[in-house]
Amino acid sequence: MPNLWDALELQPNTDTVLAGETLPAVFWSGVAKRGDSVWLREKQLGIWRSWSWNQVALAVREIAHGLMALGFAPGERVSILSNTVVEWVLADLATLSAGGVSSGIYPTDAAAQVQYLCEDSATVLLFVEGDEQLDKALEVRPALPQLRKIVVFDMEGLHDLDDDGVIGLDALRALGRAHMAREPKALDERIAALDPQALAILVYTSGTTGKPKGAMHSHRSLVTAMRGYHHITAQYESDERMCFLPLCHIAERMGGEYFAMYSGSKLNFVENPDTVPENVREIAPTVATAVPRVWEKFYSAVTISVKEASRLQQLAYGWGLSVGMQVADKVLAGEPVPAALKAQFRFARWLVLDNVRKLIGVDKARVCVTGAAPISPDLVRWYLALGVPMLEVWGMTETAGISTYTPANRIRPGCIGIAAPWNEVRIAPGTGEILVRGPNVFMGYLNLPEKTAETIDSEGWLHTGDVGTVDAEGVFRITDRMKDIIITAGGKNITPSEWENELKFSPYVTDAVVIGDKRAFLTVLIMIDQENVEKFAQDHDVPFSNYASLTRAPEVRALIQGEIDKVNQKFARVEQIKKFHLLEAQLTAEDEELTPTMKLKRKLVQQKYAPQIDAMYS
């Protein structure tokens, strides 16, 4: 394991690993190159099973032929409604290989949402994970005349189902085998006929207001970004990765599935979203990409267990972390790390830091990447102090993921790094909006030409909606989402995300929405971290019965007030958060208040909790 001061391994790698200008072409050249080596792993009945490239290829081929046997034509749309499982990747690659367009649907979406996404994308074939998702699909099927077949990955509990419109994945593969015997060349012809400029995937943006919009990406934009990812932080066939974020989201689709396909790094699928903390320890990824929420969770788990530890252990942790912080400060300042400090750090790693890394599961991580949402700079520093290079990237669905990145030798917590080599990034004069132009920029929003025209201007610049700054070295920093910036009644400009990130750094706060537009002072809606606050209540003899009573307990309110006070101190120069409201309902991804990535939807929350907000100002 290298240390922070010698991040040489993270040097850019400009080799072309695999040829091909479309995703299927790249995939099939990967199969030809890697054959029997392992690509995917999943846990079945408690045991990790692996899929070699050849096994994946066979499954993809059979599924793709199965689609053709069902009359699937090039350019038609397929939707995938499933958690992150191996079959998701198989269905995706088969659809693309058969010349189709694939679109992901969040498994937490309600039936009505599934209907909208299928209608909007003109889905003819729908893959579903199992009976739970199938029930959603069947509920809205009468309203989807263009939907020809529903394919079920896992037929458990459905063997008695007698429905012409539903078929199991195994049955589809059998159809595919028959089709393959009849027309052995059909699939290769489809792959060869693919146009790199053609539409490949649809990624629906979660849309904090209104209906989700389907961002269209061509093979070219995805392949450009995928190759580019390898250039900025190379991965190898020896790398172990964890696949756990929803594959409908661009982060796991590009950074997980497609990047691993290109680089040959192994993708280990978690059992389900709830088992991530256990699975990450089993997998011990060498490259870990996650969203800030996940990194926050890991951090708060460590913080809480340190609180429970003995005095001696706490002292050791405090000392180890302070040595780590000194190293991080030197590295961040670009100064050499003195030999004595290096020795201390090695000892600190042996004594505590490596154990902390093991507890999280990042003990073997060469590099960790965070993106898709803002992260607290303090959190980045904490990971750096552990000796884990935590690199922040910035991008969005519309830029096929990464648009700016942090080179390992230029980490600056709070900054999103420099423009990735495959695209231009600049700040719009006047508005301060960040603009992106390059081959990775999307084709537009499906069925929404006006929205597309609003987003991509006549010169090809994508208007990202993020406001930021750039320094002389080309390092970008995001201030906030343009539409989220608050102007208080006193005329002060406030960027809520800065406050919110600091608040989320507290182990007791899961998410926060700062309010204060046209108001006299700032207030905040807070979603507490149930587990940690319950633990706090239990440790301090605060009686509570259910979640709501927890949020009402005066001691818990005092705890959150304390966390807010800490944050307020950092912002002493501007306005302060004067009041807060704790959300009393325990929210899940199924709830309308949260995006599928578990972020509070600012607009919706502000409307839904308007009475509570008004109460804070009255």
Binding site: E132, D135, L138, L161, Q538, P543, S545, A585
Partner: protein, 257 residues
């Protein structure tokens, strides 16, 4: 003093390294029947054992009639008027029915009053009077349950802890027992804390309910309200919408609201 006869605050109890209840706070109001619902291993019985002093909690406190009874001697707790009807009846099989009832009066010295209470107990359960002289081990399961409740009554309790009275009983017998439990509550004014797996019965009999999962309370409300909650319906009452296929295997996520 408030209406709350029994107050548990942040009680944690463990069997060796296994924490069975992880911080339970609940209140039972005077003259009411409260119930704790939960599946196997949720920690229901542990709560009752902790209240009656059989298990000493790791943390937290138990107050009965304003008095701290945390980890107090079980006999002292009975003297204060809190009797426990254990899970699986636990009658003395080789003693006669009558002697079993006398065991319930172990802590009392007022013989006349005890005799009166035994007669009253027979009033609730006439079948026990008929079999007064028989060994308790020869009674049927339902009769043993009646005996266990009657034995608690002879302790002249202000409050009874009732642990799964429906265990191993037919639906008809369960209903009868519950009817008598409600009668005891209404006629004697005895406060009851009832622990049950038969959620339907318990929610109909009780006034206030708590739902316990993995050693923590996830929901509390008046029983009439609890009965209408989606999660209680689906996970405790077995009422679920079967979906488009007419059968549903998968479980919804519990949200407890």
């Amino acid at each position: 003093m408030s209406d709350d006869v029994l107050v548990l605050s942040n009680v944690e109890s463990a069997y060796g390294p296994i924490r069975a209840i992880r911080g339970v706070s609940l209140k039972v109001r005077r003259g009411e029947i409260s119930t704790v619902l939960g599946s196997n291993g949720a920690g229901k019985t542990t709560i009752l054992k902790t209240i009656s002093g059989i298990i000493d909690p790791r943390r937290g406190s138990v107050h009965f009639k304003g008095q701290d009874i945390t980890a107090a001697d079980p006999a002292k707790i009975v003297r204060l008027g809190l009797c426990h009807v254990p899970e699986g009846r636990e009658v003395f099989p080789l003693l006669s029915v009558h002697d079993n009832l006398l065991m319930g009066a172990y802590t009392r010295s007022d013989r006349d009053a005890v005799a009166r209470d035994i007669e009253r107990a027979y009033g609730y359960f006439p079948i026990l009077k008929e079999r007064e002289k028989q060994d308790a081990g020869l009674l049927s399961g339902g009769q043993q349950q009646m005996l266990a409740i009657a034995r608690a009554l002879v302790g002249a309790p202000e409050m009874i802890l009732l642990d799964e009275p429906s265990l191993g009983l037919s639906p008809k017998l369960t209903r009868e027992i519950f009817e008598i439990v409600v009668r005891i509550n209404r006629e004697r004014g005895t406060t009851i804390l009832l622990v049950e797996q038969n959620a339907n019965m318990a929610l109909n009999a009780a006034d206030h309910g708590y739902v316990l999962e993995n050693g923590r309370i996830v929901m509390e409300d008046r029983c009439a309200v609890l009965r209408e909650k989606d999660d209680v319906k689906e996970f405790y009452l077995g009422i679920k919408d079967t979906g488009v296929r007419g059968e549903r295997r998968w479980k919804k996520k519990k949200t407890w609201r």
